[in-house]
Symmetry: C2
C-alpha cells in the first residue's frame, strides 16, 4: 500500500532549514529543522506540516522512465549534503485540463523531463503528490545534491520556472536545507 510521507518543520529533524524563499503566493512560516517521517503527528504549535505520497508515475512515458532509471541516483547519498523542498500549487485552469493537455504542456511544450535529465545524476529528486490529500499544495518536490552542484541546481530551477508549465503555478515556496549532522 502507498502511504503519505510527512514533512514536519519544527525544533528537530534530520535536516536544518537554512532559508525559506517565497517564490509566488503565500510563503511558509520560519522553522529551524525538518523531519521527514511516515507519522502524521504534528509537534503542537511548533511549526508546519506538509504531506504527500510518492506513488506511481503520472506523466512519464515508458521510454522516459527507462532513461530515468539508468541515469538517476537514489536519495541519501553521503555526498549530497544540500537539499531543497519545493511545494507547488497549480491553478484551477491547470486542473481543468485533461491528461493529454497537461502532458503536452509538461513535456512537448515545456520539456520538463528533458530539463531534469540534464542535471542527473548530480541532482537527485523525488516527487510527492498532495492534491488528493486536501493539502494546501498539489506537489512537494524534494531535491538532494552536493555543495559543488549548487550552481547547477540553481540553473535547473531557473530553466523550469521559465517554462510554459510554470505559468500555471500560483503558489511556490523554496525551502533550502543542510544535513543537520554537519552543523
Amino acid at each position: 500500500m502507498t502511504h503519505p510521507s510527512v514533512f514536519c518543520a519544527g525544533e528537530e529533524g534530520q535536516w536544518r532549514i537554512v532559508d525559506i524563499k517565497q517564490v509566488c503566493g503565500l510563503s511558509l512560516p520560519p522553522a529551524d529543522f525538518l523531519k521527514i517521517t511516515d507519522i502524521d503527528a504534528r509537534e503542537e504549535g511548533k511549526g508546519w506540516l506538509l504531506r504527500g505520497t510518492a506513488g506511481h508515475a503520472r506523466y512519464t512515458t515508458r521510454s522516459e522512465a527507462d532513461q530515468l532509471a539508468l541515469r538517476q541516483d537514489p536519495l541519501g547519498r553521503a555526498s549530497a549534503r544540500c537539499a531543497a523542498l519545493i511545494p507547488i500549487r497549480k491553478s484551477e485552469a491547470w486542473w481543468s485540463l485533461v491528461q493529454d493537455e497537461r502532458r503536452s504542456i509538461i513535456e512537448e511544450t515545456s520539456q520538463h523531463f528533458r530539463i531534469g535529465m540534464d542535471y542527473l545524476p548530480a541532482v537527485a529528486r523525488k516527487l510527492y503528490h498532495s492534491r488528493d490529500l486536501g493539502e494546501p499544495f498539489d506537489f512537494l518536490t524534494w531535491f538532494e545534491f552536493a555543495e559543488e552542484s549548487a550552481d547547477e541546481f540553481e540553473t535547473l530551477l531557473t530553466r523550469l520556472r521559465a517554462t510554459e508549465e510554470w505559468r500555471y503555478v500560483e503558489r511556490e515556496v523554496d525551502v533550502r536545507l543542510r544535513r543537520a549532522d554537519q552543523l
Copy 2:
C-alpha cells in the same frame, strides 16, 4: 482546494445498505447505513469508513470529456433511488506501468470509456481516488440509477469485469444501496 469525501458505514446515513458482495479479495463487514460526508469522523466501532477524492480526470481525453459532459446527468436525481459503491484495488503490476501503458489498457484494449458511455445518462457515476491517501482501496466508484435501469447496470458491470483492465483488479467489493427515505 480538493478534499477527500468520506463514505461512512454505520447506523445512520442517507443510504440504506441492502447487500455487500465480495467480488474478489477481502470483503467489507456488514453495516446498515452509509453516510457520505466531508468530515473524517468515524462512529467509534460501529462500521467502516472509506475515503476518496473526486478531483481531476486522470485518463480521459478532451474528446471523451466533451462527450461525457453532453451525455451524463448529475448525481442526486430524484428518480435514481438505487446506488452502488464499488471499491477497487489494482495490483502492483498495474501501478508499475507508466501512464501511457495504463491508458492503453483502460481504453484502447478494454474500452472502459465506451462501455460507460453506453449506459449514460441512465447510470450516473462518480469516481473517487483513494490510492494517494494510503487507503486500502485505490478507487471508489459511486453509481446512481433508477429501479428500471437495474438490469442495464448489471450488464455494465459484467462488461467491465470481462475487460483486460479487470485482470489487474485484486480486490473488489460491490455494495448495493437504496435511498434511506423510501424505507
